[in-house]
């Protein structure tokens, strides 16, 4: 571990904290444009966070310590996830702390915490949201793991950093298996981030919501932390997708030139990715909750297909 490595690691974390609400704002703005609504300002999520941090917290009568500690725990999980996904450089001192499988575990830890908190207060909406979240989660997780196994088979390592180094800095090779894995990953990230085919992030309609139902009881700085964590999750998933499937531009090691180039490249990739996300969300309709298993089952099968194609086409010469 070097001093400059540590500096860039901390820089990447700070950048994740600062950019995550901006990404959410950008996606919301694109969505509004595509739906012929007048768009909220790009910085709207920051205003929301600012407002919520200055409001008083109102706690339900039955709320336990768990309820109050969950926002911090979820925020911490997402921050850790952002720290170990290479965004700018592959020289990350924190990366040995967790490989991709542990990364999936970190995401599911956050999910378990937030579902428990939703059930803690004892309102019916919370329990409903928590149950639905676990349904989506337990279907999405194996698909995500299969996607990761496909990339891990290519690079023969489960460490995110090694995967990115293999894909970005060796000779360019077309991996058909990555096409399958990429589509499966897109499906999973839509489900995990409470996006349109599974959940609508903009709605407060009681019967359709998943994520919003779980956080109904939160207010003030707790809500702010949860909203920020949701933005960080979107950012983390976007960066993971970019790192696994479009890793070009991420600097190898700590050369200043490479890192300075990596920042605008990352911004450009996130801008395009956010725009695409908004397009996909606009042209799709939210499916019934009972269609969610089909949606995620397809993702799982595509990821398995990716593994099979990897075995069939790419392992022999």
């Amino acid at each position: 571990m070097s001093i400059s490595g540590l500096f860039w690691q901390i820089f990447a974390i700070v950048m994740a904290l600062a950019l995550a609400p901006l990404l959410t704002g950008w996606v919301n703005q694109c969505r509004a444009w595509l739906q012929n609504r007048s768009a909220p300002p790009l910085l709207q999520p920051y205003y929301m966070l600012h407002k919520l941090f200055h409001k008083d917290v109102v706690l339900a009568h039955g709320a336990s310590t768990l309820f109050r500690s969950v926002p911090v725990a979820v925020f911490g999980c997402m921050l850790l996830a952002c720290a170990i996904i290479p965004t700018l450089s592959t020289d990350l001192p924190f990366a040995p702390a967790a490989d991709t499988i542990a990364l999936v575990g970190v995401f599911s830890l956050a999910r378990i915490f937030i579902s428990l908190a939703a059930m803690d207060v004892g309102t019916s909406f919370g329990a409903l949201g928590g149950r639905r979240e676990m349904l989506v989660g337990f279907l999405a997780e194996p698909a995500l793991l299969m996607v990761i196994f496909t990339t891990a088979m290519i690079s023969q390592s489960t460490s995110v950093v090694t995967i990115v180094e293999t894909l970005a800095h060796r000779d360019f090779v077309i991996y058909p298996s990555l096409a399958f894995a990429g589509i499966a990953f897109t499906f999973v990230s839509f489900a995990e981030n409470a996006r349109v085919p599974i959940d609508n992030p903009a709605t407060h309609l009681e019967l359709t919501m998943i994520h919003e139902a779980m956080i109904l009881e939160y207010s003030g700085r707790h809500l702010a932390l949860i909203e920020w964590a949701a933005s960080l999750k979107l950012y983390a998933y976007s960066c993971l997708g970019l790192a696994l499937f479009f890793p070009w531009g991420i600097a190898e090691g700590n050369s200043i030139g490479g890192l300075l180039l990596a920042i605008p490249v990352l911004l450009a990739k996130l801008t395009v990715g956010g725009g695409l996300l908004a397009v996909i969300e606009t042209i799709n309709a939210k499916v019934r909750i009972f269609r969610a298993p089909e949606f995620l089952g397809t993702a799982f099968l595509l990821a398995v297909l990716g593994l099979l194609v990897r075995l069939m086409l790419e392992t022999r010469v």
Binding site: V173, P176, A179, M312, E314
Partner: protein, 222 residues
């Protein structure tokens, strides 16, 4: 690792994978019109893959078969099917005999079987396209599965045509394509088959007021 594989082989593998992906998408698809569009896309990918093989191996007749594929499977047949759907007015969702997730699970098993069966064969082969033989077999089996699990006549025809795509891919990958005469014959067969089946659709619908082929089981001689 396959870093020393030539770019053309990588491209062929990529196109073959896309064809497999489209076969799966067709298996999961509920709407007839999207199904036909996916079939057209599959034909286009097949044409591209044949073009790459033709360019790499210098087999002149493969250019002809690529052009034939483009004309027939990416343009003409989807157009005929679109016309049929419009005339028959069947835009509703397709009912499958088995529900879609179960069908896809069966599909994955079929892919595994196909890959395992093709593995020893493709090891014997020396062609640049040998890896795609398993995929071609898998596409054929998936098209079979689609024909078995779907009830509407139109989807069965699309399954039949998609199976022909798979066979074509198999021929290209195993032996750089069939002789031109055979290819022309098959292309004509497929075209005539689709047209005759189109006529059948009208007859079936006039007889039963539906395109559900389950009604055909009740046919009896008078």
């Amino acid at each position: 690792m396959n870093a020393d594989m030539p770019l053309s082989a990588q491209l062929i593998n990529l196109f073959a994978s896309v064809i497999l992906l489209l076969a799966f998408a067709m298996l999961a698809q509920r709407r007839v019109l999207t199904l036909i569009n996916l079939f057209a896309l599959q034909g286009l990918t097949l044409c591209l893959s044949t073009l790459v093989v033709a360019f790499t191996t210098g087999q002149a007749h493969l250019y002809w078969s690529a052009a034939l594929t483009l004309l027939l499977k990416a343009l003409l047949l989807p157009w005929i099917l679109h016309q049929l759907v419009r005339k028959l007015n069947v835009k509703s969702e397709i009912e499958a005999l088995i529900n879609i997730p179960a069908t896809m699970l069966v599909g994955i098993v079929l892919v595994m079987v196909a890959f395992n069966v093709a593995l020893p064969i493709s090891e014997l082969s020396q062609t640049i396209t040998r890896g795609t033989l398993g995929i071609a077999l898998a596409v054929v089996l998936l098209a079979f599965l689609m024909m078995i699990t779907r009830q509407k006549a139109i989807t069965q025809v699309v399954g039949f045509l998609s199976m022909e795509n798979g066979l074509f891919l198999a021929a290209t990958s195993a032996t750089y394509g069939m002789p031109m005469v055979v290819e022309l014959g098959i292309a004509l067969d497929v075209l005539i088959g689709a047209i005759i089946l189109g006529v059948f659709f009208f007859q079936i619908r006039e007889q039963f007021d539906s395109l559900d082929i389950r009604h055909l089981e009740k046919l009896k001689e008078r």
